[in-house]
């Protein structure tokens, strides 16, 4: 197969995170139209479609086939990915690979999700329960926060971190998220708001959790030669993926306070991009709980192990700090439709590189994003940059 030019981002389309009473179809069509307009591309240019498999409660099944008919699109690749929170990212990476090897020229990557239509005490919990070991863990009554609560508890214990200090990561991300017009929230939080909120799974409280919501994003990828965008070319410079031999909290060799999949996926992505971590200007990780952002900061090598919380307290991860983390708000500050969140991180990266981000970091040339599933068992890493 002939290798073609590196993939570039031609256009983006989003709806603000929130609650929508219209079908997923209509959200999808809206962001697709917006992305095409942003890219100055005709729909007929699209020859590949990539999306996370809709969640079990989505009324419309066979979603990609349904959408291809509706759009009148003949494509050379149509992919629905189901890998939990990395689904959108793995769909995006599949599109990147297909453009790199010439399978398609212009890829539509799309994610749409409505969490407002699922009862969180019924079908949602049933779906979550089945993601644990159905024989040895589900009968306990496990929840996702109950998994992350244990790694938070262990992280505080191993490094002697005060629970109070962790709240600063939530406060920082919420402040960034409030400034984001696509975010879910209008009000910032104080440290006391975070610490006084109702308990979800000790020691995790409400605002330590990413708020489920509805959302949709479309991203058009194409070759540099086909890219007719008015903006400077934004390249997908490197991608990486790694899954450790772990399942939620079950890890054999490493502590649950380490996330080796982040380290390995990021190493691959930066190596492919030909950059090092100090050359990255902005980080947009998928960090669903505050201690996970702290540990990701450590896994990136930005600080020593156990110092991720201090980095936030000292303002190092703030928009004006030396290594800004989640200036978009991330899933904690922006709201969290999990299938869409990886693409929201990509949109945040693109906006930083275009100079149009809600919380813009000056002179951005490279952005690194991650996505994860399970208890960060599997991780994608993606480097975006403006250099051709």
């Amino acid at each position: 197969m002939t290798r073609t030019a590196a993939p570039t981002v031609a256009g983006i389309g989003t709806v603000p995170n929130g609650t929508y009473s219209i079908p997923e179809r209509d959200l999808a069509l809206r962001v697709v139209q917006e992305a095409l307009e942003d890219a100055s591309l005709e729909l007929s240019a699209v020859d590949g479609m990539y999306l996370p498999a809709p969640r079990p409660w989505t009324p419309q099944g066979f979603f990609s086939t349904y959408l291809l008919h509706l759009l009148g699109l003949d494509v050379d690749r149509s992919v629905e990915v189901s890998t939990g929170g990395t689904s959108g990212a793995n769909a995006f990476h599949s599109a990147v690979s297909d453009i790199r090897d010439g399978t398609v020229e212009t890829a539509l990557v799309l994610a749409v999700e409505r969490n407002s239509i699922v009862e969180t005490t019924g079908p949602y919990f049933d779906y979550i329960l089945k993601s644990f070991d159905t024989e040895f863990e589900s009968p306990i009554g496990m929840t996702v926060p109950a998994a992350y609560a244990q790694s938070m508890q262990r992280y505080l214990y191993e490094y002697g971190i005060a629970r109070r200090d962790l709240a600063d990561i939530v406060v920082k991300n919420r402040t960034n998220g409030v400034a984001n017009p696509d975010g879910l929230f209008d009000e910032s939080l104080s440290q006391d708001d975070v610490l006084d909120a109702r308990l979800i799974s000790d020691p995790i409280r409400l605002f330590d959790c990413p708020a489920p919501c509805d959302g949709a994003v479309a991203i058009l990828l194409t070759t540099a030669a086909n890219n007719e965008s008015d903006f400077p070319q934004i390249l997908v410079q490197g991608t990486g993926y790694h899954h450790t031999a772990s399942h939620f909290l079950r890890s054999r060799e490493t502590s649950i306070t380490e996330l080796p999949a982040v380290r390995t996926a990021v190493d691959t992505a930066t190596e492919r991009a030909g950059v090092s971590i100090p050359e990255i200007d902005v980080f947009e990780p998928y960090a669903p709980f505050p201690h996970i952002e702290a540990i990701v900061t450590e896994e990136l090598g930005l600080v020593e192990r156990g110092c991720g919380v201090t980095a936030c307290l000292e303002g190092q991860t703030a928009p004006d700090g030396p290594f800004p983390i989640s200036p978009s708000g991330g899933c904690l500050g922006r709201g969290h439709p999990p299938m869409v969140t990886p693409l929201l991180n990509y949109v945040a990266a693109v906006k930083q590189l275009r100079g149009t981000a809600s919380t813009q970091i000056p002179d951005v040339e490279r952005v690194l994003t991650t996505a994860e599933h399970g208890h960060v068992n599997g991780v994608t890493a993606t480097v975006f940059g403006t250099e051709v």
Binding site: E135, G141, Q153, Y157, L199, R252
Partner: protein
């Protein structure tokens, strides 16, 4: 074919907690599987454990799926024999600390949750060991 894990549940009925031992690399592991996750040998066998271990971490839930109590105390136990596993903890949340000595024991399963073919078998629980 029989479910591979049936001997575990049959033994648990008699109060014995089984894990797996690899004859090739000598590692102990859980859950049981015919392939050693450490060296990929198939030379594996059941191994009895006294269930003694320490509390590696723990939490208390406040919202769960419908058949369960909202407040559940759940922890990760690191067995003295090696493997770590999730278990319900038979103790109040406030009484627990990481590093506490605990022991995994058999307990009747009384939640109205569909465990399929395991519905007539007991489950297990971790209880603090008092010296």
């Amino acid at each position: 074919m029989e479910p591979y894990t049936r001997p575990f549940w049959e033994s648990l009925r008699d109060g014995t907690f089984l894990i797996h031992a690899c004859e090739s690399c000598d590692e102990r592991f859980f859950p049981p599987s015919p392939i050693c996750p450490h060296c990929h040998s198939t030379d594996v066998d059941w191994s009895e454990t006294d269930g003694v271990g320490t509390l590696y971490s723990f939490t208390r839930t406040h919202a769960t799926a419908e058949p369960f109590d909202n407040e559940l105390v759940i922890g990760t136990v690191e067995l003295a024999d090696g493997p770590k596993l999730l278990a319900p903890i038979d103790a109040s949340y406030s009484s627990l600390e990481i590093g506490d000595d605990v022991r995994i024991m058999s307990r009747e399963y009384d939640v109205d949750y569909d465990r399929g073919w395991l519905d007539t078998y007991p489950f297990f629980v971790a209880r603090p060991v008092t010296n």
